[in-house]
C-alpha cells in the first residue's frame, strides 16, 4: 500500500505496518540520538574542560573537570605571563554521563558490590521497591476495584462515597508522610501507605467512570432475560467492563510507580531511592542514570507483559489476535465438548426443527 505524504497528518488515519514499526523504533532512537549528540559532539554544549595537562596552573590536577570560563581565564593570565598553559578537552558536567557509560553501569550494576557493606546491592534495592509497589497497589486494588465498580453501578453508593473521595484525591499523598510514620513506624508500612493513598482515590473514581460507560442496553437486555440486581452486577456489569477495567489497572499501576520515590524517602529511606541517593553522593551519576532507566524498563516490561496477558484472557476483544493461551484453552474446550455436541445433534431429529434448519441452510447457501 503506497501511502501518500498527506496520510501522516490525517486524523485517525491508518498507518501502514512498516511505517508504524519505524515510528515505534524512532520513539526510542530520537531521544537516545539527542543524548548521543550532546555527549559525543565536542562543540555541542560541553561547558566543562577535563584537564589533561595542568601546566602552570597550580590548583589544577590531571583529570580534573573545571568550568570552561575559569579554565580560559587562567590560561589567558598564564599566556600573558608567558608561562606553560594548561591543556584539556571539552566535556560535559559530571551529572550528564555519556550513553556508553550508562550502558556500562547497567551491565556492571548487578555485579558491582555496594560501596559499604550495610548498603544494598542494586538488585536488592530494586526488589525492595517492587515489593513496596506490589503491596501498595494490591491493597489499593482489593478495596478500590470493588468499590469503584459499586460506585459506578449503584448511584446511591456513588453519592455516598464519591464526594469525599473527590475531595481526598486532591490531597497530595506525600503530605501524609509524617502522619504515616507516626502511625505505622519507620519501615515499609508507611511507604506502602503512601502508594495506597496515591493510588486508591484515583482508582475508585477511574473505575467508577469506566463502570458507568457500560452500554445500558446490555443491562436492559439482561433484565428482560430475568436478571435480578445481584445477577446484573456479577453477570453483566463485571464482565461488561472487565477489559476496560484491566486497561485502567495498567494505567493506575504506572501512577503507583510515580509515587515510589516519594514513598521511599519517608521514614528510613530504602529501595531504589536510597540506592540512587547513595550513588549521587558518590558522584556515580552513570549508576544514577542506570537506576532511573531500570525503573522505566521495569514499568514498560510490566505493561507489555500485562497487555499480552490481556490479549490472552479476553478473547472476545475485537482487536486481539488469538493468543497462544486462548488457542490452547479453546482446543481444550473443543476436546471436552466433542462428545456432548454429537449427542445433541443425534437427539435433534424432530422433523420441524430439522426442516427449519434445512430451510435456513438452503437460504444461507443461496445468499
Amino acid at each position: 500500500m503506497a501511502a501518500g505524504r498527506r496520510d501522516w497528518l490525517r486524523p485517525f488515519g491508518e498507518l501502514p505496518r512498516r511505517r508504524g514499526l519505524t515510528l515505534r523504533v524512532l520513539a526510542f532512537v530520537l531521544p537516545l540520538g539527542l543524548w548521543c549528540v550532546v555527549s559525543y559532539v565536542p562543540f555541542i554544549w560541553h561547558p566543562m574542560i577535563r584537564v589533561t595537562d595542568p601546566g602552570d596552573v597550580d590548583w589544577m590536577t590531571r583529570d580534573q573537570v573545571v568550568e570552561g570560563d575559569a579554565f580560559r581565564t587562567e590560561n589567558q593570565a598564564i599566556a600573558a605571563r608567558g608561562g606553560h598553559i594548561a591543556r584539556g578537552a571539552p566535556t560535559n558536567p559530571v551529572f550528564l554521563p555519556a550513553p556508553h557509560e550508562v550502558l556500562r553501569a547497567l551491565v556492571t550494576g548487578f555485579t558491582t558490590p555496594p560501596a559499604r557493606p550495610d548498603e544494598p546491592w542494586l538488585h536488592e534495592a530494586l526488589l525492595h521497591s517492587i515489593g513496596i509497589i506490589f503491596w501498595g497497589f494490591l491493597i489499593s486494588s482489593v478495596i478500590g476495584v470493588p468499590l469503584g465498580i459499586l460506585c459506578g453501578a449503584l448511584p446511591s453508593m456513588a453519592r455516598l462515597t464519591e464526594p469525599f473521595i473527590e475531595f481526598f484525591r486532591y490531597l497530595p499523598a506525600p503530605a501524609f508522610g509524617a502522619l504515616a510514620v507516626a502511625v505505622l513506624g519507620i519501615n515499609d508500612a508507611p511507604k506502602i501507605a503512601i502508594i495506597f493513598i496515591g493510588t486508591f482515590f484515583q482508582q475508585v473514581l477511574v473505575i467508577a467512570n469506566t463502570a458507568r460507560r457500560l452500554d445500558p442496553a446490555l443491562l436492559e437486555a439482561a433484565q428482560t432475560l430475568g436478571a435480578k440486581p445481584r445477577q446484573l452486577l456479577w453477570r453483566v456489569v463485571v464482565p461488561g467492563i472487565i477489559t476496560d477495567l484491566y486497561s485502567d489497572q495498567r494505567v493506575l499501576l504506572g501512577w503507583a510507580w510515580t509515587y515510589l520515590i516519594v514513598a521511599e524517602l519517608i521514614g528510613v529511606s530504602s529501595g531504589i531511592t536510597f540506592f540512587i541517593n547513595q550513588q549521587a553522593k558518590y558522584r556515580a551519576y552513570d549508576r544514577v542514570f542506570a537506576s532511573i532507566i531500570l525503573i522505566g524498563l521495569i514499568g514498560l516490561t510490566t505493561d507489555v507483559i500485562l497487555a499480552s496477558i490481556g490479549r490472552q484472557i479476553f478473547p472476545w476483544v475485537r482487536t486481539s489476535r488469538t493468543g497462544w493461551l486462548s488457542q490452547a484453552l479453546q482446543r481444550l474446550k473443543r476436546g471436552e465438548r466433542r462428545i456432548p455436541v454429537a449427542a445433541i445433534s443425534a437427539e435433534v431429529t424432530d422433523e420441524t426443527t430439522t426442516q427449519t434448519t434445512a430451510n435456513v441452510a438452503a437460504r444461507e447457501a443461496a445468499s
Binding site: A222, P239, W316, T357, V360, A361, R363
Partner: protein
C-alpha cells in the same frame, strides 16, 4: 404511490377471503395472553411540566398472534414495548399477562432490541444460555443442550462458539431472537429489531421470523415503522396516532398465510398498504411536507 394509479381498482382493505376470515375467527377464540388497559405515559420535560406520550392505549393480543405496532414517529410505539417489557413504568393503566398484572422486567416477556445487545464477552451458545442459567432451573449441561437447540432453530449451529463481533448484523439479531426465546417467554417484544439492517437482510430476517414463529408457542408484539414489514408479518396491526400516542385502529390484515414476498404486489396487500399509508401519513399532511426552498441552480436548468 401517485394519484395517477388506478387506486379504485384495489379491493377494500377489510375484505377477507373465507379462509382468512376463518383464521381470524380461530385467532379470536384463542386465549388472551396480553391485555393492555388504559395505558398512559407522561414524561417530565425540562421546565417541570409533563408531556403525554401515550394516552389511554388499550388492546389485547391472543395466543400465538403476531401483532405489529406502527405509527408516525413520536407516537410512542417504542415506549409501548418498553412498558410491556417492564423497562419503563407506566403513568397509568395496567398490563396483564395471562390475566396477572406485571411489575418490572421478567423472563416471561422476552425482548429483541433495535441495537445489538448480545453480550460481547459470551459466545453465541453462552449468550443463548444466559436466560436459562439465570432461572436456576437448568443444570449447566441441560442449559447448553437447550441453547444449542435454539441456535439450531435460528440456523446458526455453525457459529455456536463464535463471539458476537464475528457475526454479521443479521446473524446477531437471529442470536438475539434465540436468546430471547430460550427462557420460554409468553410474549416476545420486538422493538424495530431489523431497523439497523440493510433492505435485503431485513427481508431475509422477516421470513426467518415467520418460520421461527411457526415452530414456537409465543405471541409476538412487533414494533416497526415499515408498513410493508407490518403487513407481511402481522395478523393484526395496531395503528397509533402521535402527540399523544393513541390507538387509531386495530386492523386485521386480510393477506392470507403463509406469507411470501410475492404477496407484496397482491391487491389485498396493496389495499392494506394504502389504508395504512392514509392513516399514518394523510394526504393533507403530505401537502405540508414541502419545505420552502431557495433555488440554487440557474433558471431553466431543470431535472424534473
Amino acid at each position: 404511490m401517485t394519484a395517477a394509479e388506478p387506486v379504485a381498482a384495489l379491493p377494500d382493505y377489510r375484505a377477507q377471503a373465507p379462509e382468512v376470515a376463518e383464521r381470524f375467527r380461530k385467532l379470536q377464540e384463542r386465549p388472551v395472553i396480553l391485555e393492555v388497559r388504559g395505558l398512559v405515559k407522561d414524561f417530565t420535560v425540562r421546565d417541570g411540566g409533563t408531556t403525554r406520550a401515550l394516552d389511554n392505549v388499550s388492546f389485547r393480543a391472543h395466543r400465538r398472534e403476531i401483532m405489529c405496532v406502527i405509527g408516525p414517529s413520536g407516537c410512542g410505539k417504542s415506549t409501548v414495548a418498553r412498558i410491556l417489557a417492564g423497562l419503563e413504568d407506566a403513568s397509568g393503566g395496567e398490563v396483564l399477562l395471562d390475566g396477572k398484572q406485571v411489575h418490572g422486567p421478567g423472563p416471561d416477556r422476552g425482548m429483541v432490541f433495535q441495537g445489538y445487545t448480545l453480550f460481547p464477552w459470551l459466545t453465541v451458545t453462552k449468550n443463548v444460555m444466559f436466560g436459562l442459567e439465570l432461572s436456576g432451573e437448568h443444570s449447566n449441561a441441560t442449559a447448553e443442550e437447550e441453547a444449542r437447540a435454539w441456535i439450531q432453530l435460528v440456523g446458526l449451529h455453525k457459529f455456536a462458539d463464535a463471539y458476537p463481533h464475528q457475526l454479521s448484523g443479521g446473524m446477531k439479531q437471529r442470536v438475539a431472537i434465540a436468546r430471547a426465546l430460550a427462557p420460554r417467554p409468553r410474549i416476545l417484544l420486538m422493538d424495530e429489531p431489523f431497523g439497523a439492517l440493510d433492505a435485503q437482510t431485513r427481508a431475509q430476517m422477516q421470513s426467518y421470523l415467520l418460520q421461527i414463529w411457526k415452530q414456537v408457542d409465543v405471541t409476538i408484539i412487533f414494533i416497526t415503522h415499515d408498513l410493508d414489514e407490518a403487513i407481511y408479518l402481522a395478523d393484526r396491526i395496531l395503528v397509533l396516532d402521535a402527540h399523544p400516542g393513541r390507538v387509531r385502529e386495530l386492523m386485521e390484515v386480510a393477506v392470507p398465510r403463509p406469507r411470501t414476498p410475492e404477496q407484496f404486489l397482491s391487491p389485498t396487500f396493496m389495499a392494506a398498504r394504502r389504508h395504512l399509508q392514509e392513516l399514518i401519513h394523510p394526504p393533507a399532511a403530505q401537502a405540508q411536507d414541502r419545505i420552502p426552498m431557495i433555488r440554487m441552480t440557474v433558471v431553466g436548468d431543470d431535472v424534473e
